[in-house]
């Protein structure tokens, strides 16, 4: 399954033709720098998601509540999501036509959408203050969150190889 099944090729050609896609495509070092920033921010993002999800599963930072932890880390998490989307969109636009035919890219975006839905619904509700410890919904939310976010990272890496 790829995006080319739903969206006409002219859209992807347009992405590569406009700024910043065209600019990144023409200056190779801009792609390398943008990709390096994308990976640095990945570490910040995955670190914050991982620590909160582990806590919901009852491991890791057990001496703090999930809601305390989420409050500590969420500014970092949301800033990194925004930076990931900005750098990711820029990288995407520089090779939109190739990515339109890439199955890993399709699954990356699918996994990302699902990860964000989980984040803003059940993870958010499970990390509200006063939630009971070790609630089953929180554990399910944490498993889904880990599965989809690692899915994004796995599929993202696979884009370069498949």
């Amino acid at each position: 399954m790829t995006f080319l099944h739903f969206i006409p090729i002219t859209f992807f050609q347009w992405c590569e033709a406009v700024w910043p896609g065209r600019w990144i495509k023409e200056a190779t070092w801009v792609f390398a720098i943008t990709e390096t920033v994308h990976i640095m921010v990945l570490a910040v993002l995955m670190g914050s998601i991982f620590v909160v999800d582990l806590r919901l599963l009852g491991v890791g930072m057990k001496r703090r509540t999930a809601s305390q932890l989420s409050k500590d880390l969420s500014p970092w998490m949301f800033t990194s999501v925004v930076l990931m989307v900005i750098t990711g969109t820029a990288l995407y636009m520089s090779e939109a036509v190739r990515l339109s035919q890439s199955a890993p890219f399709f699954f990356k975006i699918l996994s990302l959408v699902l990860a964000l839905i989980v984040q803003f619904t059940i993870i958010r509700s499970s990390t509200q203050p006063g939630k009971p410890e070790g609630a089953p919904l929180g554990k399910i939310a944490a498993c889904l969150s880990l599965f989809f976010w690692f899915g994004v990272a796995f599929a993202g890496r696979a884009i370069a190889f498949l």
Binding site: A32, T36, I39, L45, G47, F50, G60, R63
Partner: protein
Amino acid sequence: MHYIQAFCQWLNETQWSTYIRESDYPFPIIETFHVIGLAVSVGVVMWLDLRFLNIVMRDEPIQSVVDQLEPWAMGGFVIMFVSGALLFLSEPMKCYNTLAFRLKVIMLILTGLNVMYFHAKLYARLPEFDKLPNPPWQLKMVGIVSFVFWFGIIIAGRWTAYF
């Protein structure tokens, strides 16, 4: 340098090195584990660094943060180190000749020394630091060095692949 080069040349010719280098799947699979181990390990280490700098979880004792997070950082590091060693095994000569990789190794060694310094000199004094309104400069230095070098290692690692 001569000995390192000879070692890399020898390694390059071994059966394992040739196997990973010449087959289709092992390299991408190992690299994927490397990047995911990195995200978890550096992402967790970062919370320790930010706690040392008094930026996050200020109401949680420093030692408590270290004790709870360090096992996960170590776990991520082991995945990263093993997968990294296998990636190096697959192309030792390329790594040897790449400036970015040499810088990466130097930064890794310095990061290791930084962790050893923390455990040898500062860890036992953490309860005492927790009574202070602000962590002492030595602890902040450990946090800054770790933060800067880890992100330096990511940059150098990414650039090793480009050259």
